[in-house]
Amino acid sequence: MGFVSRGFRGRPRDEGVKLPPGQYLVHDFPVLSAGPTPRVPLDRWEFAIDTEDGQTHRWSWQELMALPAETPTVDLHCVTKWSKLGTDWKGVSLDTLFADVESSAEYALVYSYGGYTTNLPVEDLLDGKAWIAYQFDGEELAAAHGGPARLLVPHLYLWKSAKWVQGIRLMNEDWPGFWETAGYHNYGDPWREQRYQGD
């Protein structure tokens, strides 16, 4: 055991709930970012799914709002070790968006306004595992937390839930994204503590 600071406790954590290894519980909602917050006016906002064959499916904000939405309650686990449990969202399931998309691609690269990217297997986006979320806690998703809309894929570390999502590119090859090319794990399962490459 290394050096310990006498009497230092830090932020309250470990309140007796089961968390993935190495995580601590928070009750606020920390904002972490890699750059300036993009500002995207709704009349120019668009979400796209680009298939490996070059087809593009697009939705404007109005079109997104017209789709059936779900209100999932999920736990969030950030690779920086905080976890926030029981968070309420509203968004469109990726199953709904993929309904008319013809693709056999295995990999997805998610890209955001402002240039952020992250990658994951297509199967991790489907079967009720992911949403394009536009409300948090009953209110419009704030820009600092990824608004107008972000990807929400809570079974992976939160860096995979790309804020300010702009589209998903489907590919036959895996293409590591922003943090994956900077040393973070390619997949990012919090329950297997896959934080860094090689974990």
Binding site: F3, S5, R6, F8, R9, G10, R13, D14, Y24, K81
Partner: protein
């Protein structure tokens, strides 16, 4: 080849000096400390018993003095680290320190250009290290300090700056409350303040600005508008990770 990669060292707190009701100077003894330059900072790391750790950066407040390193820490409401350092840590306790770091925002006593120091709030800390380094070296380089803060009760090093320092001029400006009879009304730093308290651009001063981001940007813009050379302006911003 000089230099070696930095490691975490264990420092012992040997003395405490309260600068204000919410800011405290910690004097640390660090065995093996290699010395430092005025303007550099250290990283402080705290570790809880369950292994959780976090760190913050603090500017060194005094010039190199053997194994002694002084930091002035402002207690941030709801902070995680500063309440521990300013309220819990007592003389005899140990803390992990890495440093010194920073080679750009430094002042060495061998220069000839006059120096302008512009401090916003707790940005005074590294600039005070420069003032103290100047005195320690017996330097005659003309120094001017413009120290912007909310009110007189929040001044760090008040007694020390009240003492006569030949060749150092100190101008205070207050943004929220002023002492009775104070000539300059409450208000943020302006070009007029920089004119009265600073150096003309054609004196070619080295300028050091330290404080919160907004303050640093305003001060920097003013100096550029006055014609100071951008390459002679060095800034250090205190960011949002403080606490």
């Amino acid at each position: 080849m000089n230099g070696r990669r930095l490691v975490w060292r264990i420092a012992r707190l040997v003395e405490i000096r309260d600068e204000t009701p919410s800011a405290r100077t910690l004097v640390l003894q660090i065995p093996g400390w290699p010395g430092h330059l005025a303007g550099q900072h250290v990283d402080v790391r705290l570790t809880a018993e369950d292994g959780y750790s976090t760190q913050r950066s603090y500017s060194i407040a005094a010039p190199a003095d053997g194994e002694r390193v002084e930091l002035t820490v402002q207690r941030v409401p709801d902070g995680e680290v500063s309440p521990y350092l300013t309220e819990e840590l007592t003389v005899g306790d140990e803390v992990e320190i890495r440093g010194p770091v920073g080679g750009w925002f430094v002042w060495r006593p061998n220069g000839t250009a006059p120096v302008l120091l512009v401090a916003g709030g707790s940005g005074i800390v590294p600039l005070m290290a420069m003032i103290r380094a100047r005195r320690q070296a017996g330097s005659r380089t003309p120094f001017r300090l413009i120290y912007s803060l909310r009110e007189p009760g929040e001044r760090y090093y008040a007694e020390e700056l009240r003492l006569p320092h030949p060749g150092l001029d100190v101008t205070y400006l207050y943004t929220r409350a002023v002492p009775d009879g104070w000539a300059r009304p409450v208000g943020r730093l302006t070009i007029a303040d920089m004119n009265t308290g600073g150096w003309p651009a054609d004196f070619g001063p080295e300028c050091y600005i330290c404080g919160p981001t907004g303050f640093v940007e305003t001060a920097s813009d003013i100096l550029l508008a006055m014609g100071h050379d951008a390459r002679a302006i060095k800034t250090e911003r205190f960011g949002p990770t403080g606490g």
